[in-house]
């Protein structure tokens, strides 16, 4: 009796998790499905399979929402910008997360203040941060270039990377470092030979996290992007003036696919680190 009751509750738990995941993923799955629909609107039922929203050759009379993703040159410019932004954010996030994590481990003066400042990057409302940067760059007459978006993404990504890295530090890490430095290893070689090999998966995952976060960030970026901008700002400005067709679902499928591949890679990297 006890045994069957346990099993029933286990099934209930798995059903709960499955329903929650389904609730979260249904729109994403439907987006992929409807991006191949022949209908010109987002509509049910499914009318027929086509790849025209991905690579349909334009006849020259289409505009905005009716040009396929492949032939939408502005989208590819935005794509290129996003790749720059995401790689820059990944590199900056990695450097900052690693250096700050190295320092925050020690009982240095001002550790708490430092931690709260870093954490604020994620806790300040995005719209306030975006507006602030917009005003600052206007006053300073600085150019709005793609790397500013990368910097804002970095400020946002660093707290996540830091928590991820510090929560997973090997408890004996500092012991090994100490042993090495007692044996007269220079600080740099301690880092290179002892610390880095032990935290390398966390470093890689911080980089991937910076990349993926910058890949989809919109709230902060929308205040500092100019021109075609990055993918997120391009899509949001296009959607404001154009009808929503399956073309945008095709675009969404492409960029969501890239985020998911990056995240799967991150999951793989993190599970390597646990061994």
């Amino acid at each position: 009796m006890e045994c069957t009751r346990m099993k029933l509750s286990d099934i209930g738990i798995r059903a709960y998790i499955a329903i929650l995941i389904l609730l979260i993923y249904t729109p994403i799955i439907l987006m992929v499905v409807l991006s191949t629909n022949t209908s010109g609107r987002i509509s049910f039922p499914y009318e027929g399979f086509t790849t025209k929203w991905y690579n349909g050759k334009p006849s020259g009379f289409e505009y905005g929402s009716y040009i396929s993703a492949y032939y939408d040159w502005a989208f590819w410019i935005a794509f290129q910008n996003t790749v720059y932004v995401a790689f820059a954010a990944a590199i900056m996030t990695t450097i900052i997360v690693t250096t700050v994590a190295m320092t925050l481990r020690h009982r240095i003066f001002g550790r708490n203040a430092l931690f709260y400042i870093i954490l604020l990057g994620f806790l300040v409302p995005g719209v306030a941060l975006g507006l602030g940067n917009n005003i600052l760059f206007g006053i300073m007459n600085w150019q709005f270039t793609w790397w500013i978006a990368a910097m804002l993404d970095t400020v946002y990504a660093v707290p996540f990377g830091l928590i991820l890295m510090m929560a997973r530090f090997d408890p004996d890490l500092m012991l090994y470092e100490r042993a090495a430095s007692v044996l007269r290893a220079s600080p740099l070689s301690v880092f290179r030979r002892i610390t880095l090999p032990l935290i390398r998966w966390e470093v890689v995952s911080a980089a991937i996290f910076g990349f993926v976060l910058a890949w989809g960030e919109l709230i902060r970026t929308s205040f500092v992007a100019r021109g075609t901008g990055v993918i997120s700002t391009y899509i949001s400005t296009q959607l404001a003036i154009n009808p929503i067709t399956p073309k945008w679902y095709a675009v969404g499928t492409i960029i969501t696919g890239i985020s998911i591949i990056a995240l799967v890679f991150m999951g793989f990297v993190l599970s390597r680190g646990q061994k």
Partner: protein
């Protein structure tokens, strides 16, 4: 340690420093970015909120005035604006908690398979990291005029014409925010629950504690730091999100939305006033929460 990124109990090692003051040198890139792209902009924004609005090339004159704040506090829609902003964020946090707490509990105490746990957590991160406009627009396929819900209801004969109000409502907003930010609620609770000694629960059960007492007195109370962290994370994230309300809130006005409207019209001082108010609200919430919970425990100590 195999079941997830669980913080390990830090051993008490004395503070070893990489070459004394050079450890401060390591902070230069992090502090530089935080200063230039966060502290400085927010400071300047606060200053601009006291400037006089004027039809100049910059949109303001550098004459200090409190008029913007007087305008803000006497505007007839200000109470609604604040109430909307506050209630939307609060309800979003409550909804995320309602779904996230059981999930964290199940993942910690009921699911033994480590790979399964990692998959579930990774699956929760994905929606947060995909493109914000795409994530919101994807809901048209479900709740839109020709979405799957209307299609199902129509073919069942429950309704005769599609419901358009389905998409443009606060409920849609909550669903999208649940989808996006549940990971912020789920993760701190999960971390906090992982620190609960399972023997404590077995002991309570042996001593014939009723299940609701075990759940409340042990699981809930001991994971309270994680819960509060989760609340704060979801709350401030939804406060700063103006994109989703812009598309789907059905005309509900929030502070974030007004900020973007005023800044689109180059009314910097007034946008700064609203933004400063948003900042003050979040700082108060953060301050109170971090008095109750020590968030540093997530990372060190």
């Amino acid at each position: 340690m195999a079941q997830g990124p669980v913080p390990s109990p830090g051993k008490k090692t004395s503070g070893f420093r990489i070459g004394g003051y050079s450890s401060y040198l390591l902070l230069v890139p992090g502090l530089a970015i935080a200063t230039i792209f966060m502290i400085l902009p927010l400071a300047i924004m606060t200053v601009v909120s006291f400037y006089t609005t004027a039809p100049s090339s910059t949109g303001y004159l550098k004459i200090f005035t409190a008029q913007n704040y007087i305008d803000f506090f006497t505007a007839p829609n200000t109470p609604t604006l604040l109430l909307n902003t506050f209630s939307l964020a609060l309800i979003a946090a409550v909804i995320c908690f309602a779904f996230g707490f059981p999930l964290a509990y199940f993942l910690t105490f009921r699911i033994k398979n480590a790979t399964f746990k990692n998959y579930v957590i990774t699956l929760l991160i994905v929606p947060f990291l995909i493109d914000a406009s795409i994530r919101t627009v994807a809901w048209i396929a479900i709740l839109g005029r020709d979405g799957i819900v209307n299609y199902a209801l129509l073919s069942l004969g429950a309704i005769h014409s599609p419901i358009t109000a389905l998409l443009f409502s606060r409920n849609t907003l909550y669903i999208i925010w649940l989808q996006t930010y549940i990971v912020f609620m789920e993760f701190p609770i999960y971390l906090a629950m992982n620190r609960i000694d399972p023997d404590l629960i077995s002991a309570a059960k042996v001593l014939k504690a009723p299940p609701h007492r075990v759940l409340y007195d042990i699981v809930f109370k001991l994971s309270l730091p994680g819960i509060i962290c989760g609340f704060v994370f979801v709350f401030v994230s939804t406060l700063g999100d103006y994109v989703t309300p812009n598309l789907w809130a059905g005309g509900v006005q929030t502070l974030g939305l007004s900020i973007s409207r005023y800044s689109d019209n180059f009314l910097w001082p007034y946008a700064s006033v609203l933004s400063t108010m948003l900042l003050i609200i979040s700082v108060i919430v953060l301050f109170i929460s971090f008095k109750v919970v020590d968030i540093r425990k997530l990372v060190y100590e």
